[in-house]
């Protein structure tokens, strides 16, 4: 009887199948790169590509957190305003002069940002899980709350890092390079690697996928669904904080409009990267690729000089749809 069970396993085919899904966003990226070279000869320059990768850092890092939230069947619309909120508090703390030594001040401020980010994420998690409010509405609510608090903190104006010492000390965190690679790119890769490790290799990551696939099955398997979901929101908060750590040295200032619509961009990056919004699938590297795609679309628009600036939005929209079409047709081919 048992020998019947030992049938041939066709590993190859299933791997190919799987790969194609994971590879699809990268193919879309490649097509865009080719398109870009036609738009402007400078496009494929190292400088330009490094620029684009570097500035995709915010969305890419936020998208890593969003991948966790979405794979677990959640959604977080508050990340954009969370960036503004965390960044504002961080700059206000640095402006407070509570610590005299600039280096110590900077480190404390960074830790503070991380703690606040985690706390904001935790709040989102609790509202959606314990109070069982649809993530869409819950995080739309906290989006309003974070944005409102930021406006209030800034009294409608900007919050700007005042100390030039701190500014100079902190600047390299965004503008610096290590072995010719801009720091933000290193941070993207490092964050994604950690994210991928947690999602694919650890028990918690397996639980995330289980919860996103079928909440009941997860619960009946002894997984604390609420805890797993809440932690995905905390991870999202941490990723937002990491993005803030890069954002503050870049612009040195925030206002009530910082990070508007980043939530939509992050979610778009995640979906373009192959993660399904219904949960149960998570592709960290795909999300990074999605963030690159979004940034490159904008870059091509800017570099190509034949598109009316009024139409940029329309063409960006069209390109995203086409990128998804490329993906779909690749997947269906398999």
């Amino acid at each position: 009887m048992t020998d019947l069970a030992a049938r041939s396993t066709k590993t190859q085919r299933s791997l190919k199948d799987l790969d194609l899904r994971a590879v699809a966003p990268f193919v879309a990226l490649l097509l865009l790169l080719i398109l870009g070279t036609f738009a402007n000869p400078n496009f494929l320059g190292v400088d330009n590509l490094l620029n684009v990768l570097t500035r995709s850092a915010f969305i890419a890092i936020i998208a890593i957190g969003a991948t966790f939230v979405i794979s677990a069947g959640g959604l977080d619309l508050s990340v954009g305003s969370m960036v503004a909120f965390v960044a504002s508090l961080m700059i206000m703390f640095m402006n407070s002069g509570a610590i005299a030594d600039p280096a110590l001040m900077l480190v404390t401020a960074m830790v503070l940002a991380i703690v606040i980010g985690a706390a904001c994420g935790w709040a989102n998690g609790i509202i959606t899980t314990v109070f069982q409010i649809e993530p869409f509405i819950a995080t739309l609510g906290t989006m309003g709350i974070f944005r409102g608090l930021t406006t209030w903190l800034s009294q409608g104006g900007a919050i700007t890092l005042r100390s030039p010492d701190l500014q100079n000390l902190y600047r390299p965190a965004y503008f610096g390079q290590v072995l010719g690679v801009p720091v933000p790119i290193i941070i993207i890769v490092a964050t994604a690697a950690i994210g991928a490790f947690v999602l694919y290799r650890t028990r918690y990551g397996r639980h995330v996928i289980a919860v996103g696939s079928n909440e009941d099955v997860a619960r009946y398997s002894g997984i604390s669904v609420n805890r797993v979901r809440t932690v995905t929101y905390i991870i999202q908060g941490l990723c937002v904080a990491v993005a803030v750590l890069l954002y503050v040295p870049r612009l040195g200032s925030t206002s009530a409009t910082t990070g508007t619509l980043w939530e939509l961009q992050a979610i778009t990056a995640v979906v373009v990267g192959g993660t399904a919004l219904r949960g149960g699938v998570g592709r960290i590297w795909g999300s990074i690729c999605g963030a690159f795609i979004l940034e490159i679309v904008g870059n091509i628009m800017l570099l190509s000089n034949f598109i009316s600036e009024y139409l940029i939005g329309a063409i960006q929209g069209a390109i995203i749809i086409i990128a998804m079409l490329v993906q779909r047709s690749l997947m269906r081919r398999n």
Partner: protein
């Protein structure tokens, strides 16, 4: 039985040289069968033999890789189930296929709503739905949303839905798997009526006595091949089992060393699950197999889900004499109790994930190497589980949802056993399981008990409870109404307790 119906020589439906592959895996090979009006043709076979696949092809849900289907001698190809239904072929699926947010009546008439002018005529549909369900011997309010029904009730709704279509061939894929004897009996009566009205019936079941009762012809599938077709009269259940499994299945139920210790492993006192069960008290001895009998909706599932912390409940739970409280199922798992849900698709397995992920989901702690999940160890465990539980599928990388129903059950069993529990609660352990595998599962349960573990079996199959349990608790309408042991463990006595009927009425049912 068969001669009561009109017999014609010309088969209503025929298949010739039919085969089906999923990718490289061939699950049906060169099947040739004919089905006649006014006959019940049973298809039996082990889990994964290809029965459901064959039925899905007949009903237009799947396309055959090769072969022809003929209706009244004329070859047909279906573009989908709707077209098959238009030709009078209806299929009652093995899985529940209903829209959970719609009411019973809305589901019954989905896609063929009755309307007066622009408006759907809900009044008439509700009435007709009520009647259709009543004809199956149950009373379900047609205005209730299907998501609120128990699995058994959903199964009945699904049957009612199929029978509402004018049909010439009615296919039932394990319709009785989640039904209790009472409902089964009613359903078999319905099928008998259908046959007598000149319909060709295809019937799949793992309950061989049932097949013996209802079928005119029996075909046996083994591993995708048609191995035999015989008149049902020529076959006894034992013969059927032998044809299916390819060996003798002489004794289904294992010998029990009756001497279970009376040392209590689990004591439940005055335990209530609001809305479902109230004031339940029972004790499970160490090394004991305790059965839970009752009709659909008696609240057995909910009571035990309450006990393991899956539902809000109150009452006293003692584990090996010590009072415990399970706030959630994680607590009870750590304390050594596992619960296997009756709803293996909805609550047991992640259908979109592969076998390995499913197998280790509840017991990942055992597969950690530091922070990392040890995939090699997982794969080794999967190999072992495939052997030990005889899980049959095309390849190890397949998704759990692609396993046949019975093999899903085995995978769920394997998944929970990974936790090496002290107390196992199995809800409907052999629902949809073939007879060979049943034997294995019974043996497995008996071995657990012999190894000093305690087992609670909730089952709607009374012979099974009687065959393997030391003691049977009977529930009715959320209350424990009695307990039978020893020679009192008869279907008769259980039905009396379960229904609250008189002994004579019960005898009729249990006969």
């Amino acid at each position: 039985m068969a001669d009561a119906a009109a017999t014609r020589d010309m088969p209503v439906m025929q298949v010739e040289g039919l085969s089906k592959s999923f990718g490289p895996v061939e699950v049906l090979r060169d099947i040739g069968l004919s089905f006649h009006a006014g006959k019940v043709h049973a298809i039996i076979g082990e889990n994964g033999a290809g029965k459901s696949t064959l039925m899905k092809i007949l009903a237009g849900h799947l396309e055959p890789t090769n072969g022809t289907i003929r209706i009244d001698g004329e070859p047909v190809t279906f573009t989908g189930p709707v077209e098959a239904e238009a030709r009078g072929i209806v299929l009652v699926h093995q899985e529940i296929l209903l829209a959970p947010d719609l009411t019973v009546a809305q589901n019954l008439f989905l896609g063929r709503e009755l309307s007066n002018g622009l408006m759907v005529d809900d009044r008439v549909m509700n009435e007709r739905a009520a009647k259709a369900v009543r004809d199956l011997g149950v009373k379900i309010d047609p205005r209730v949303v299907v998501g609120r029904l128990s699995i058994a009730q959903r199964q009945l709704v699904q049957i009612a839905r199929a029978l509402l279509v004018p049909h010439r061939v009615a296919i039932f894929d394990e319709p009785t798997a989640s039904l209790t004897p009472v409902e089964t009996e009613a359903l078999l009566k319905v099928i008998d009526d259908i046959r007598n009205s000149g319909i060709a019936v295809l019937y799949i079941s793992h309950r061989l006595p049932e097949v013996k009762t209802i079928a005119d012809t029996v075909s046996v599938l083994r591993d995708g091949n048609l191995v035999a077709t015989h008149p049902a009269a020529d076959l006894q259940p034992v013969d059927m089992a032998r044809l299916m499994v390819g060996r003798d299945v002489s004794k289904l139920y294992p010998d029990r060393h009756a001497a279970a210790t009376r040392r209590p492993a689990l004591e439940i006192e005055d335990f209530s699950v609001p809305g479902y069960a109230s004031h339940a008290s029972f004790t499970l001895g160490k090394g004991e197999i305790l059965g839970f009998a009752g009709l659909v909706g008696a609240g057995r599932t909910e009571l035990l889900e309450g006990v393991v912390g899956l539902r809000t409940a109150h009452g006293a739970v003692k584990l090996a004499g010590k009072p415990v409280h399970f706030a959630n199922v994680h607590d009870s798992m750590r304390a050594g109790i596992v619960y296997l849900s009756e709803d293996r698709k909805g609550k047991g397995l992640l259908l979109q994930q592969d076998l390995r992920v499913n197998l280790t989901l509840a017991s990942l702690g055992r597969f950690m190497r530091g922070l990392v999940i040890d995939r090699r160890k997982e794969r080794a465990a999967l190999d072992r589980a495939i052997g030990e539980f005889d899980i049959r599928g095309g390849r190890k990388e397949m998704l759990a949802g692609q396993l046949s129903g019975g093999n899903q059950q085995k995978l769920l069993l394997a998944k929970m056993m990974m936790l090496e529990p002290e107390i196992v609660v199995i809800d409907e352990p052999t629902r949809g399981i073939d007879i060979g595998t049943k034997e294995q599962i019974y043996k497995f349960i008996a071995r657990l008990a012999e190894g000093g573990k305690s087992v609670i079996v909730i089952s709607s199959e009374m012979p099974e409870l009687i065959g393997i349990c030391d003691r049977i608790v009977v529930m009715r309408a959320g209350r424990i109404v009695g307990e039978v042991t020893g020679e009192h463990m008869t279907e008769n006595e259980i039905v009396v307790l379960a229904t609250g009927a008189t002994a004579e009425e019960a005898a009729l049912v249990a006969e």
